[in-house]
Amino acid sequence: MTAQISQIKFFFRFEKEEAWLEAMSASGWHLISASYGYYRFQAGKPEKRVYRIDCRNITKQADLVDYVSLFADSGWTSISPKKNVGSYYFYSLVDQPGKDIFSDITSRAGRYLRMAQLTGISLIPMIPIYGALIATGALKMGSWGYLTPGLWQMTGVEFTRHFLFETPFVVLRAIGWMLPLLVVLACLIFIYCYYRIYRQELTKE
């Protein structure tokens, strides 16, 4: 049984992620799967690999096969490609300067634009989910205050005791209520960041 390790990491820049995977392979850990920041590596002999990551919205099996074949024909091995995941990982053992999966600036920058678009698409199903939770009363604004009857009429030690006892629950309920909002907010920030990198990359020489 070959040794395996997993790592959780987040990258905004594909270039940094690729460099990290190349360093891992150089030290004998080769990527076997990657999804949403969860990476699995298998032990092997240290190798000089070139890693490249592409971002595509591939939803059909036939499209995936065609896509992966095109890269294979061009000398790029795909690492556990799946439909509907957005990111595709490739490596090549050909050590040739300038070896890349993109041959012009516009298409190289384009993967950041697609990341922004895919993040946007992933937001769409959240709208009805959040709406349904509010409509069915599962998320009620009024229900996350302090619930102890007569809490605000208490004084002294009794008040402090009840107040401190209940505060963690209030905080938990508040987080639960705000979680979908935070996710939406985080997505919007991601979209903005990816779009900014896209603009930067377009003007890069």
């Binding site: 065609d66 074949s69 095109l70 061009s74 012009d104």
Partner: protein, 107 residues
Amino acid sequence: MNLNKLLPLTETTYYILLALCEPLHGYGIIQRVKALSAESVDIAPGTLYGALENLSKQSLITLVAEDAEKRRKIYALTDLGRQVLGMEFSRIKRLVEISQPVLGGTL
């Protein structure tokens, strides 16, 4: 649709349309462009895939078949694609004709 809006084509797009005068799959296009350009243009797969997506969306190329292993999609020019390629060819030819007497032996 005003076809002039699609012009000028990028060098990559022009070569892809030129290669697709005969039906080819993705890697076939890369090889054909390499041969046509005397090895000077080497389109990378990520760039080609995006270009094929865009050209399909603009209806300049279309899917005609799959290869024998049913792994690779085979594309060809549409009538519209042929028309746009012809327009771009005429545009470049005209530029060359206009430039020739001006630049003559100066370059």
